[in-house]
């Protein structure tokens, strides 16, 4: 299943429990569209040829009789009703009306958009979000204005990466500090505008085996070096060391192919000249949270890395974040 999970020119990888139904709906609609288009197209082309103006051919004044068009129109109406009631509304109903039960099994996250970054606030093991106060906001160290002295905030986690446990209910409460953004994870088939002054929840579940580690593995590909364009693999890294003729490592394992077009092309050239015919690459990180609503100058850079873990590893990550912060603040107090 994960083997199919590569990015390409149709659906991106689909890694959430509900996403399959959305893809199914999109596929059905497209087959329906194709059937209509081809049907119309055949009739259209036939008419263009058969009824072209030529010697001896005359147009007929009286309208053609027949009910086919009426039946087609009724069929289109009925099928659209089916799409609406049968395929679209059930998904939407779940997406909007059936939140997962609150409890230990539900992973809750506050997401706050701002120009041009995503902020994630986790409640920690106690399940309670600490107090936030706009007066405490510091763009560099505390973008959400979390009151770390607050009792509920002691075990909170603030992060600009989104970490999620697989196979568990994810409940995200989305808002914005400044303008309207849109919280979008294409691979999860999740999208929700983040609107200042409103907090809007969405929920979903990451497929059980869709951990970042496994995805990297499944997205590892061999690229013929002559076909590599830097822009298309700019988010990829090498899975092994590549050396030039002198034996010096020019592309180290885990490193990207340069940070810009110039560097990238130069490196690709060096590798080609060193006799490499193909490179084995994988995405540095296969999943991203992006912003789907124009939010200003650097809108296009507004993204966060999304990292999925086994539930146990996720808990470990939370602990580590808490410890890092407490250690950091103790150091700060000592200082």
């Amino acid at each position: 299943m994960l083997a199919e999970s590569t990015y390409g020119a149709w659906f991106p990888p689909m890694l959430s429990e509900h996403g399959g139904e959305i893809d199914h709906l999109i596929s059905v609609v497209h087959w329906f569209m194709l059937a209509l288009f081809v049907g119309w197209g055949i009739f259209f082309v036939y008419c263009l040829v058969r009824f072209r103006q030529r010697g001896g051919h005359k147009a007929v004044y009286n309208p053609v009789k027949g009910k086919i068009s009426k039946y087609v129109e009724i069929a289109v109406g009925v099928f659209e009703a089916f799409l609406l009631v049968g395929l679209s509304m059930p998904v939407w109903d779940w997406y909007k009306n059936e939140p997962p039960d609150a409890g230990a099994d539900r992973c809750e996250i506050r997401v706050v958009g701002e120009q041009f970054q995503w902020n994630f606030h986790y409640p920690g093991p106690d399940g309670k979000f600490g107090r936030t106060d706009a007066a405490l906001i510091d763009t560099a160290t505390n973008p959400l204005g979390i009151d770390w002295e607050n009792e509920d905030a002691k075990d909170d986690v603030f992060s600009q990466e989104m970490h999620l446990p697989v196979g568990k209910d994810i409940y995200v409460r989305i808002t914005s500090k400044d303008v309207i953004h849109s919280f979008a994870i294409p691979t999860m088939r999740v999208k929700q505008d983040s609107i200042p002054g409103m907090e809007i929840p969405v929920w979903f579940k990451v497929k059980k085996d869709a951990t970042t580690a496994k995805l990297k593995e499944s997205m590892t590909q061999t690229y013929p070096i002559d076909k590599i364009k830097w822009r298309r693999i700019r988010h990829h890294v090498a899975v092994e060391d590549y050396q030039d003729r002198s034996g010096q490592v020019v592309l180290a394992k885990g490193a990207p192919l340069g940070n810009n077009l110039e560097q990238g092309e130069k490196l690709i050239n060096t590798l080609r000249e060193s006799g490499h015919t193909e490179l084995v690459l994988q995405p540095a990180n296969p999943l991203e949270v992006i912003c789907a609503q124009l939010c200003g100058n650097n809108h296009y850079t507004m993204k966060a890395q999304l990292i999925t873990h086994e539930p146990a590893d996720f808990d470990a990550w939370v602990q580590e974040m808490i410890e890092d912060r407490t250690a950091g603040s103790e150091m700060f107090e000592d200082f």
Binding site: P12, V29, R52, S69, E80, L84, V179, V190, I233, L294
Partner: protein, 580 residues
């Protein structure tokens, strides 16, 4: 009649051709201005396509000429510059290009002639409408020269982004208020002219479909634009007087709490509702006149009556009505609940039915026809499958569940461009070729016309077809550099293809530009009715004098009496009792 002629000759040049109250001169003014703005808006897009295909590389040739609000010192586009190009491309194409051309241009020139009127009901209002439009257009262009550059919050100008944007947004709002005012003046005129000035015998169901389409469009303009005008003024107040109509409480911009500036308590979503309450009917303002043109061109060049004339008329009216209750389908991702979204996706599915009926009527009209493949007909025929693609791809966007994935992606861009560019703009080209002989007394070159049509047809599909695949892959619209994201980097090749398609499309317009100006002076001279058409405009001289008709026309039959059995010719003009 001769008195009319004398009167015309007495007018000084500037009253006859500049500040004219003659609907035909105003129509031509609208057409030429609209075409210029279309071309300008297209040029903005060709610059954007460079950045999309070759991100952060210097724009060739013109890069260093652009203002510092758009490019850096090396001539590389910057994010705000790209966003300004995007916002202005949309605004210019819709409000300064297509609508003025479709309604102001064709409507003004053709509608009074087709109803057999000597002029519009309110000629001075008509003149005012054009000049307010022109000033609105110039104001829009001034935006490029203010500090911070032109408006850069999208043609949709969503708040609060637009509220905190640079001065260009204020200029944009002033421009919009003028453009809306112009449309309102025009629409009143069209409605009154259609109702009051029809020739004797020209009952509503003898009106050409073009007149019906313009008539319904005018109601949309009249009823949908005022809410946006109000919204525009509210946004101006937010920007200039620090009111909080669209500003919520507790906004923090760049770390600064905005409470000292705004009291808060406003709603950012209010703007979206007001905007889309206009902008969805606006979609039908873009498409209905195009369908009207199509009706004329297809009936004339199939040499038979349109199939299902009454269905076409009822569908157009129903489409107009329904277009007022689908607007929130642009807002499914704003957190809309199930009840509301169910209503709006249901109305969206319902509105597709009259569109399907209209398309079906046009296609069935080809059956038993005798199709003349001249340039206007080629453009009209190409409209049909491409509008079908545009319409069909609206389906997955209108269903909330599939919209989750497709919302705000390139799929949306592909969808509405197929409706408006290969759809409406192709129909507008059909109209230009079709009515050119009426305006000038000369035909445009057929050879150059075909040289315009075929490359345009190929390239326009090369531009927009890849967008469906790019969008399906999850690439979002309004991205300065799509390769910044994983899914965008992978399908970047398709985006490069779109860009080359766009530049090819630009080149393909050169034959049109040459043909247009060449034919004004050198085109083949033709009589009053070169296409052997039936509707009343062809009963007037070419070009029609001030006052239009030499004798007041009286209508005897329906609009599309082609190939009536046992008649002398294969067409019966509406004003002629045809002998057997």
């Amino acid at each position: 009649m001769s008195a009319e002629h004398h009167h015309e000759h007495d007018l000084p040049f500037w009253r006859k051709y500049v500040f004219s109250v003659d609907h035909k001169v105003i129509g031509v003014q609208y057409t030429v201005t609209g075409l210029l703005f279309l071309f300008f808006g297209f040029c903005l897009m060709m610059i954007m396509r460079w950045q999309l295909a070759y991100p952060l590389e210097a724009i060739p040739v013109i890069g260093t000429w652009l203002s510092q609000s758009m490019v850096d010192a090396d001539g590389v586009l910057i994010g705000d510059g790209y966003n300004a190009l995007g916002a202005m491309h949309g605004t210019i194409m819709v409000f300064l290009g297509v609508v003025p051309l479709a309604v102001g241009g064709f409507g003004n020139f053709v509608l009074p002639l087709q109803v057999g009127a000597p002029d519009m009901a309110f000629p001075k209002l008509n003149m005012a409408s054009y000049w307010v439009y022109l000033v609105g257009g110039i104001v829009m262009l001034i935006g490029f020269f203010v500090p911070g550059g032109a408006a850069n919050s999208g043609w949709t100008s969503y708040t609060p982004l637009a509220n905190i944007a640079t001065t260009g947004q204020t200029v944009w709002l002033f421009g919009m208020v003028l453009l809306i005012t112009s449309s309102l003046l025009g629409s009143v005129n069209f409605i009154v002219t259609t109702v009051q000035l029809r020739a004797k015998g020209l009952s509503f169901f003898r009106l050409p479909f073009f007149v019906w389409a313009q008539f319904v469009t005018s109601f949309l303009l009249l009823l949908a634009f005022p809410p946006l005008e109000a919204a525009g003024v509210l946004q101006l107040m937010d920007r200039l007087a620090d009111t909080s109509f669209f500003m919520p409480t507790g906004l923090v911009v760049s770390g600064e709490l905005q409470e000292s500036i705004y009291s808060g308590g406003g709603s950012p979503l209010l703007w979206q509702h007001l905007f889309w309450f206009l902008a969805h009917p606006e979609v039908y303002v873009l498409i209905l006149p195009a369908m009207g043109i199509l009706g004329e061109v297809i009936a004339c060049n199939t040499r038979k009556p349109l199939w299902g004339y009454k269905s076409l008329v009822y569908s157009a009216i129903f489409l107009g009505f329904m277009s007022f209750i689908v607007w929130a389908h642009h807002m499914f991702m704003t957190g809309m609940g199930t009840t509301l979204s169910t209503f709006f996706q249901a109305t969206t599915m319902i509105i597709s039915v009259p569109s399907v009926i209209i398309l079906t009527c046009f296609i069935i009209s080809l059956w038993n026809a005798s199709i003349r493949y001249n340039t206007p007909m080629l453009f009209a025929l190409a409209f049909l499958p491409m509008f079908a693609i545009g319409g069909l791809t609206g389906l997955p966007l209108g269903l909330t569940a599939s919209d989750i994935h497709l919302h705000d992606t390139y799929y949306v861009i592909g969808h509405f461009h197929y409706v408006v560019a290969p759809g409406t703009i192709f129909a507008l080209f059909a109209g230009v070729y079709h009515w050119f002989p009426k305006v000038t007394g000369r035909k445009m070159s057929e050879f150059m016309g075909k040289l315009h049509f075929w490359p345009s047809f190929v390239f326009i599909n090369a531009v927009f077809m890849p967008m469906f695949f790019v969008g399906m892959a999850g690439v979002l619209r309004r991205q300065f550099d799509q390769t910044e994201q994983l899914q965008g980097a992978v399908v970047h090749g398709l985006t490069i293809m779109s860009s080359w398609g766009a530049w090819g499309l630009g080149l393909a317009q050169i034959p049109f530009i040459i043909n247009f100006f060449w034919s004004i002076r050198k085109g083949e001279k033709v009589g009053d009715n070169p296409w052997e058409a039936t509707t009343l405009e062809w009963a007037a001289p070419s070009p029609p004098p001030h006052g239009n008709f030499e004798t007041v026309p009286v209508v005897h039959c329906g609009p599309y009496e082609y190939s009536v059995p046992e008649k002398k010719t294969d067409y019966c003009p509406q004003n002629v009792v045809m002998e057997a």
